[in-house]
């Protein structure tokens, strides 16, 4: 089974995206992805309530294909954010959380800690667009939360430094690396598996921002063993997600 752990749905003018569930499921069919873990762009960048509700509608249309991540447009909304997470888990059936950090407004701050504690209570893994340093701060604060470092630091705010991501993931048992990125450096996956084990690597594509074909190839067309590939391509994220 292949599960894409990093997919976006909805609209973003900045990212020049406007896609619905039907489009994404069509892409998943072409790629051979059984399930896609989606976050709504409105929820992530503008209004968590509106966006998460939009995603819930898409989940109802494709219950066997779309797994919902709750998203928060900010981690500074206190009880309102915690209530939204309860709603996303219990009313919408979402199974994880997506949060986004920028150097200008980093999530590595005390306000995020209550959010992390809530995810532990709900059994949500967190897909965090965050740097290795930020992930280390968060993991040190709440070591029992399950944190997936989106892009494994192969993103501009982390200077593409996936070797640094590996060092961070080595320090914390619950810190995982997610693979979506424009970066296709030779040896990336082999190094991750050698240093961390296949259990800590999670496949994602970031569609519809990035082309999914090269991203599947950079995982599959390597010298990784088939049983390790199964974990990376789906087994690991299914193990982490909140149970249905």
């Amino acid at each position: 089974m292949i599960v894409d752990a990093h997919v976006h749905i909805g609209k973003s003018t900045r990212l020049q995206i406007d896609v619905d569930g039907e489009h994404l499921v069509r892409v998943a069919d072409e790629m051979g992805f059984d399930k896609i873990c989606c976050t709504d762009l409105t929820a992530l960048f503008y209004d968590m309530h509106e966006g998460n509700k939009l995603l819930f509608r898409e989940m109802k249309q494709f219950p066997d294909r779309i797994i919902g991540y709750a998203s928060l447009h900010s981690t500074r909304f206190g009880a309102e954010a915690l209530d939204e997470l309860d709603r996303c888990a219990n009313d919408y059936g979402m199974r994880g959380l997506k949060i986004y950090s920028t150097p200008q407004m980093s999530i590595a701050e005390p306000a995020t800690i209550a959010i992390l504690e809530k995810t532990v209570e709900l059994g949500f893994p967190i897909l965090a667009h965050a740097t290795p340093h930020e992930c280390e701060y968060l993991m040190a604060a709440v070591p029992e939360c399950k944190l997936m470092m989106a892009h494994a630091a192969a993103q501009p705010f982390a200077h593409g430094d996936w070797n640094r991501a590996i060092m961070a993931a080595k320090r914390f048992p619950n810190l995982y690396l997610e693979t979506a990125s424009s970066t296709i450096d030779t040896g990336f996956l082999e190094t991750c598996v050698r240093e961390l084990g296949a259990e800590k690597i999670i496949f994602g594509t970031d569609i519809p921002l990035l082309d999914p074909y090269f991203q599947l190839s950079k995982i599959r067309d390597t010298c990784i063993e088939p049983d390790q590939l199964q974990k990376i391509l789906g087994g690991n994220v299914l193990r982490l997600l909140r149970p249905v």
């Binding site: 424009s182 296709i184 990035l210 082309d211 074909y213």
Partner: protein
């Protein structure tokens, strides 16, 4: 047939890659790249001329698989070569099929060094392609070139056979597309074009004749880079042109 207009040989100082010459050639083949235009990473990090000698030697040993590009840098600031001038005819006579410039690795400004203009003027006369990279690979940790500088040098020398490389972000692709529509001599190389349906969009906007497959292998995963072209929603004619036809025409491959 797959021709890669942007490959490398040599060592990579940041993390381990297949760095022996034989390992690189073997990787190209394993990834489905039949012919690779190479430049030595020694040219980026140690000495551009020493790197050119490596590319020249290896290409002689693998004539069917490798096509050498010469990487040129400053002469003015060199202790040994001060006062000399670049003469592109000598590189062509040595078998180099194109030129590469990496100002971000060689500490010069593209717009304010006279040797750059001299190279461009000669390249235009000799119809020698000039590959200019915004970034050697799509990793934010490696040095990059300012997009405006790239656009400005092309506007200054629009009839040079340009290969614009390392282009990734939407605004970068849109800017290069503008140049491609304006100047038939401007070509886009695909090694860092990673966006969703990006190849298809460029073909729809500009046609397929100015797009060249490149991988930046073995620094980047060559097969992954090829997959996005093989699965792009473009005609078979366009795919063949991107993967080999355009490069063969531009570089005169097969006309020896």
């Amino acid at each position: 047939m797959v021709v890669d207009v942007n490959a490398f040989i040599g060592k990579w100082p940041y993390w381990p890659i297949p760095s022996s010459s034989e390992a690189a050639v073997s990787k190209f083949s394993q990834w489905g790249i039949d012919q690779a235009c190479i430049c030595s990473t020694r040219s980026l990090f140690v000495s551009w001329e020493d790197g050119n000698c490596e590319s020249e030697t290896l290409s002689r040993q693998h004539q069917a698989e490798l096509v050498p590009f010469a990487c040129l840098g400053t002469l003015e600031t060199s202790h040994r070569a001060a006062g000399r001038k670049h003469d592109l005819r000598t590189y062509r006579e040595r078998g180099f099929r194109g030129i590469r410039l990496y100002p971000q690795h060689h500490s010069y400004h593209l717009l304010f060094e006279s040797f750059v203009d001299e190279i461009c003027e000669q390249a235009q006369v000799l119809h020698l392609p000039v590959l200019l990279s915004l970034r050697a690979i799509m990793n934010w940790g490696v040095p990059s070139l300012d997009l405006c500088d790239m656009l400005a040098i092309v506007e200054r020398h629009p009839r040079v056979p340009w290969i614009l490389s390392g282009v990734n972000y939407l605004q970068e692709i849109r800017s290069v597309q503008l140049l491609m529509r304006r100047y038939p001599s401007v070509n886009l190389e695909t090694s860092c074009v990673m966006g969703y349906e990006a190849i298809q969009k460029v073909v729809n906007e500009c046609g397929h004749e100015q797009i060249l497959f490149g991988s930046a292998a073995p620094l980047q995963h060559g097969r992954a880079n090829l997959e996005k072209i093989l699965h792009a929603r473009v005609s078979d004619l366009a795919r063949e042109a991107i993967l080999s036809g355009n490069a063969q025409r531009l570089l005169g491959l097969g006309n020896e």
